[in-house]
Symmetry: C2
Subunit: 228 residues, 2 copies
């Protein structure tokens, strides 16, 4: 019996060591890195319900139980896959004296795009927050808002307002992405039942999601900048 590494270790930067196993057949050997990357691929291809430990192991050319040396549980795979997808490389001028508003919009739009590129991430987020990369984004958000002159007492509220908006917009958008004829069916239901207003505005069709996202974000930023 051996002790488990279990948690996701954050290696410094260097791999720090030669390849530990030259691979028996042809595969490049198992590693947390490879497991997470493959999990993301699998999630992209098959969705949340499509991720099974056996299937993931197959893709890696490994036995199902081998994964458990690197990973504590299937839940942990979800956590790691989610956080990996949310990585953010801030533009170099972000720390500088650039326009704070532009910085925020850029980061939040990137956030949204990252999640929409991997729609499963939106439905995973509610259950597990607070990964490494999420914290980085929150930190950047806090800095930009402080730069914008938001009072320290209002900072947390401002951060969470923006966070809430992005999360909500992204989750909604992602969940409406897959079901295309469901939307038509829904709109049909509007017609037959008593929802005249949203039926007339064709709420479930023809939506400019990107534009709406940007507009609401502007409203929020206006309010936050005006302070209180």
């Amino acid at each position: 019996m051996a002790a488990r590494p279990s948690g996701a270790k954050s290696k410094g930067g260097t791999p720090a060591g030669g390849s530990p196993r030259p691979a028996p057949g042809d595969e490049p050997a198992l590693s947390l890195e490879r497991i997470v990357a493959t999990a993301v691929d699998l999630l992209d291809a098959e969705g949340v319900d499509g991720l099974k430990m056996r299937r993931l192991a197959d893709r890696l050319g490994a036995g199902a139980m081998s994964l458990y040396w690197h990973v504590a549980s299937k839940e942990a795979v979800f956590d790691l896959a989610l956080d990996r997808v949310l990585a953010y490389r801030a533009p170099p001028d972000m720390a500088g004296p650039g326009d704070w508003r532009e910085d925020i919009v850029h980061m939040l739009e990137d956030w949204r795009e990252s999640m929409l590129r991997h729609p499963w991430s939106a439905s995973l987020l509610p259950r597990r927050a607070l990964g490494q990369n999420i914290l980085i984004r929150l930190e950047l958000l806090g800095r930009a808002l402080a730069k914008a002159g938001v009072a320290e007492a209002d900072l947390n509220g401002a951060i969470w307002s923006l966070w809430n908006y992005v999360i909500g917009a992204t989750i909604t958008r992602a969940s409406f992405d897959l079901t295309d004829d469901d939307r038509a069916a829904g709109q049909q239901r509007l017609t037959s039942e008593a929802y005249p207003t949203i039926e007339r505005s064709r709420l479930l069709l023809d939506n400019d999601w990107d534009g709406a996202f940007r507009k609401g974000l502007d409203f929020l930023l206006d309010g936050l900048a005006r302070g209180r």
Copy 2:
């Protein structure tokens, strides 16, 4: 073999008939109504992962497979439980000439509270939208915004902005509810790593969620009312 009713039929108003079965032992007989209500109880008590068909049947004093006469699948149980929890009784003056802003705030705060009363609903929502009661709320939202003078072309965007915000705020709040020492651990992590801004503002602790929700909502409504 018998045909399934499968979908959730919306009975008119009257039960339209005597009790179909006087119950063999003591139980008040199975029904969709009772199944959904019990599912909500079970979800409240045990969370999303705690809902198993066998356990649900046990609580109902029925065999596991009996549920499938009334319900197409476990997924359908989730759908029905979610929609049930989101029912909304609009105050009678909502259709009248009352303050539109008050109407909206009331409905959205009620929405948020309803979901927070059943935290599992927040994590369920991303996967399945568009239940009956959600549509009702969207319709009411649309009417109030129209009353507020929002141009028809901007109506959908305005509805979705508010929806997004509420969903995001609620999901975030709900997912931060259960993990109390996780929050402390998270805050601890902030200290040891490089997140000075949000560490100083104690982002993960001491949050006035309700106040922040209301403030962000006001910003959004300000922006929407100002038109554009």
